[in-house]
């Protein structure tokens, strides 16, 4: 293992939040390394299209801008690297094409984004069913359609973006199955109108979908996906219970976003449950510093707020780090950023409300429905454990294996916690979350061990005989 490289600041995640944080810190004269699993900066929202494909428009321009600025900056870019360990100090260990790498810094900005929430329903693990965010990756990065006849379902503006994206690439959207009522959208309009450019963008997506005569089924939800070896039909229901089947070859569905808080949990930062902003998030100061000194969380990983506030939070955190390291920062700039962040909250909170976890959705999950898709654990198995008197969320994991698989509980964690809260009549705060553990993402043992000589393994002293 190579000797750890030291920096003033390590930034994890090269999306809008992490990218801006790294640029800001480097401009302030700090030595910065920016690490991301993807081979290009941009995160999910500004994901780089594959070179031979046509670049996406609006968001891609932000992405191109960020990528160009990073290339021109003094930021050390460590892309295509999977971070697997973050320990106090801070030390970050990652694996990439060139093997393992360790770096250390007294300051760490975590900008690891969010993951999707899909509330389970019968058939959700079937081929042809994918998340809304996964579909945006296909569309943006690969310029590919999820299917020939796609149903788009769930909650929030991402549905409009995906449906419009499919149409723009010549695909067919069978229907948009929207859990929200039309009045819900209309009610959010005043708040959304505080960001006219973003409202126009969202309105444009929705307009394109409606103009294509794609049915937009408000106040409807998917109750089942059916098919032999992949989805061929889904069943939807209206709030009044009218069911109908829609023929399709792909279902793209998402019930909002969950902040990716693996790193602050691993470092034992104090967390709190903020349903509006996606669930468990770290306690933060106005500079986005957690209860662990020197550890900052920004972007959607600090609460679902979208790309607009992500960049601002990244910049504010980087300026705070610069200040802590004795660099001067303009008070006027700070004030301007804080105002911008506060102003954007009206819009982002309205969107966050659409994307937050809904207890009623979880309560509806049927007993035979798979909740943990990695380990094939159904709701009835979780309920049975609770019926035996088991309440501790980690113990539920032990007795059911729920959350023990390769996704490390990212897909099912929020749902299981909600089920345990429902079943034991406790709040999400009382139920808590699974203990954070390394590796942050699964890593191949072969890559982890690299090449080594047996004699060089630092084996500790033997235990007493």
């Amino acid at each position: 293992m190579t000797f750890p490289q030291r920096f003033d600041l390590i930034v994890l995640g090269a999306g809008p939040a992490g990218g801006r944080a790294a640029l800001t810190a480097a401009a302030a004269g700090l030595t910065v390394i920016l690490i991301d699993e993807q081979s290009a900066a941009g995160g999910q929202v500004w994901r780089k299209p594959r070179a031979e494909r046509v670049p996406a428009r609006t968001d891609g321009q932000h992405g191109e801008g960020l990528r160009a600025a990073l290339d021109a900056s003094d930021v050390t870019l460590a892309l295509g690297r999977r971070v697997w360990s973050v320990t106090e100090g801070f030390r970050v260990d990652s694996l990439g094409p060139e093997g393992s790498m360790s770096c250390v810094a007294d300051h760490l900005i975590v900008a690891t984004g969010a993951h999707e929430r899909v509330i389970p329903f019968p058939g959700w693990t079937m081929p042809g069913v994918m998340g809304l965010a996964a579909a945006t990756i296909l569309l943006k990065s690969e310029s590919r359609l999820p299917g020939k006849r796609v149903v788009v379902a769930g909650r929030g503006p991402l549905m409009a973006q995906v449906a419009a994206g499919i149409l723009a690439k010549g695909g067919r959207v069978v229907a948009v199955v929207d859990q929200m009522r039309l009045t819900g959208w209309l009610g959010a309009l005043p708040a959304l109108a505080t960001q006219p450019r973003l409202l126009a963008q969202g309105g444009g997506w929705m307009g394109r979908v409606l103009a294509s005569r794609t049915p937009w089924l408000f106040n409807h939800r998917v109750v089942e996906a059916r098919g032999a070896d992949r989805v061929s039909e889904i069943v939807v229901t209206s709030a009044s219970g009218d069911r109908r089947a829609l023929s399709c070859d792909a279902l793209v569905i998402g019930d909002g976003l969950v902040p990716g808080t693996e790193v602050p949990r691993l470092l034992s930062a104090r967390m709190w449950f903020d349903r509006l902003h996606g669930g468990w998030i770290p306690e933060l100061t106005a500079d986005f510093e957690t209860s662990v000194p020197g550890l900052f969380c920004v972007g959607d990983g600090a609460g679902i707020r979208g790309a607009l506030q992500a960049g601002t939070s990244g910049e504010l955190a980087a300026l705070a780090v610069a200040r802590q390291l004795g660099r001067k920062t303009e008070p006027a700039r700070l004030a301007r950023l804080r105002r911008a962040f506060a102003r954007a909250s009206c819009f982002s909170d309205a969107v966050a409300a659409m994307l937050s976890g809904q207890t009623a959705d979880v309560a509806r999950i049927g007993p035979d429905t798979i909740v943990c898709r990695c380990e094939d654990v159904s709701r009835s198995e979780i309920d049975a454990a609770m019926a035996e008197g088991i309440r501790d969320i980690n113990q539920i994991k032990h007795v059911t294996r729920c959350g023990m698989g390769p996704c490390q509980g990212r897909m099912c964690g929020d749902t299981v916690q909600e089920l345990v809260a429902l079943g034991s009549r406790r709040s999400r705060e009382e139920v808590g979350a699974w203990t954070g553990r390394p590796p942050l993402r699964p890593v191949p043992l072969g890559d982890l061990v690299g090449s080594f000589d047996y004699g060089d393994i630092p084996v500790p002293e033997p235990a007493p005989l």
Binding site: A385, H398, G446, V449, I457, E461, P462, A463, P464
Partner: protein, 372 residues
């Protein structure tokens, strides 16, 4: 007025649960007080190894009895803990390790563990998944593993059937002796009992303090890791001569890697941080022993706390100077030997003569306290 139990057990790990179970089956009314959930600390997060080749020589006779208990858990416990009985190999890759192995295996064999020293070829017949470079191996047919994380559920069911009152999510905070009876203060209602067993793992040091007894307990923070499911790559329990590797693949395909590499942690915060270099070191040993593990991905790593007395031998017996109070813990490789040692203590509490000697803690008190 709350009921008075015959026995209050503080601590719901393997030791506490087993004492509670056999005391209740022996006719006592028993209450078990546990701060969290049953077997959620060392008893539920350890590597589940049931081996002689990592057991202290003095504990071999106990471990052999305990291994037989684990192998028949379905009978006496009544519930499945996923026990697999299989061969075990302790490997030596260097001359120094071969010497260590020969010496240690010899001592363990003298104590009754049926360990044979075999060459690489013979070892490979036992475990075809072995990598190159094996110089010598200790082979023991009495080995195996359990699914440690199922321990709590199995004991919970057995304790309920035996009529034990289980108070989970209830921390004991202090004990007074009032008119020949123990009053245990808890974060819930106080508990009264005629007898007391302290079985709080690494926390017995402060619990013994409630009774005015000082026994320093060292905290080991053992690191563990588990792979994703993969094809069968091994069929034995593998260790190395130094004892710093334990390796076994579960029937569902995951492989647990342990061996007692130390993580960061303490009594207050638990095992809170795994050190990457030590994790890599531990995994290198594993991949050196079974190269096909390199195909798997590391899914999760964690740490559990193990208690150790000054002489690394158990603290199982009466509490000196406090009639009717007992302690049960600090058993090295306690998952293997724990059930038998705890059952011996239950025998003693029930007024019977244990089949093997206990490990009283008088030897661990400082001389001043012993004189007093």
């Amino acid at each position: 007025m709350s009921a008075r139990y015959d026995l209050c057990v503080v601590g719901g790990g393997i030791h506490g649960c087993t004492v509670a179970l056999f005391a209740a089956r022996g006719g006592m009314t028993v209450v078990l007080v546990e701060r969290g959930s049953l077997c959620r600390e060392a008893s539920g997060v350890n590597a589940g190894t049931l081996t002689m080749q990592m057991t202290r020589v003095a504990l071999i006779p106990y471990a052999l009895e305990a291994h037989a208990m684990w192998a028949s858990a379905a009978t006496w416990l009544g519930h499945d803990v996923g026990v697999v009985v299989c061969d075990g190999l302790s490997l030596a890759f260097t001359q120094a390790e071969a010497e260590l192995l020969s010496y240690r295996a010899g001592k363990r064999r003298e104590a009754g563990a049926p360990i044979d020293l075999v060459d690489a070829k013979a070892a490979r017949l036992v475990e075809p998944g072995l990598g190159p470079g094996v110089m010598l191996a200790g082979h023991c047919k009495i080995d195996g593993f359990a699914n440690a994380y199922l321990t709590g559920l199995a004991y919970r069911r057995a304790l309920i059937e035996a009529g034990v009152t289980i108070l989970e999510e209830t921390a004991a905070t202090a004990v007074q002796r009032v008119q020949g009876c123990f009053e245990v203060d808890t974060t819930g209602a106080p508990v009264k009992a005629a007898r007391l067993v302290i079985a709080g793992g690494v926390w017995i040091e402060s619990m013994l303090g409630w009774l005015g007894v000082t026994v320093p307990i060292k905290v080991l923070v053992n690191q563990l890791a588990v792979t994703e499911r993969q094809r069968p790559v091994m069929r034995t329990v593998i260790g190395i001569a130094s004892g710093l590797l334990s390796l076994k693949q579960y029937p569902h395909g995951t492989t647990v890697i342990g061996g007692g590499w130390q993580a960061r942690g303490d009594r207050e915060r638990g095992g809170y941080e795994l050190l990457p270099d030590r994790l890599v070191g531990n995994v290198r040993l594993a991949c050196h022993a079974i190269p096909a593990l390199k195909e798997a991905r590391l899914a999760r790593a964690w740490a559990g706390l193990e208690a150790e007395t000054r002489d690394a031998l158990p603290a199982v017996g009466p509490v000196p100077g406090v009639p009717d109070a007992y302690v049960c813990g600090s058993v090295h490789s306690g998952y293997t030997s724990g059930p038998y040692l705890a059952r011996l203590l239950a025998e003693r509490i029930l007024g019977r003569e244990p089949a093997m000697p206990l490990f009283p803690i008088d030897r661990l008190l400082d001389p001043f306290e012993r004189a007093a």
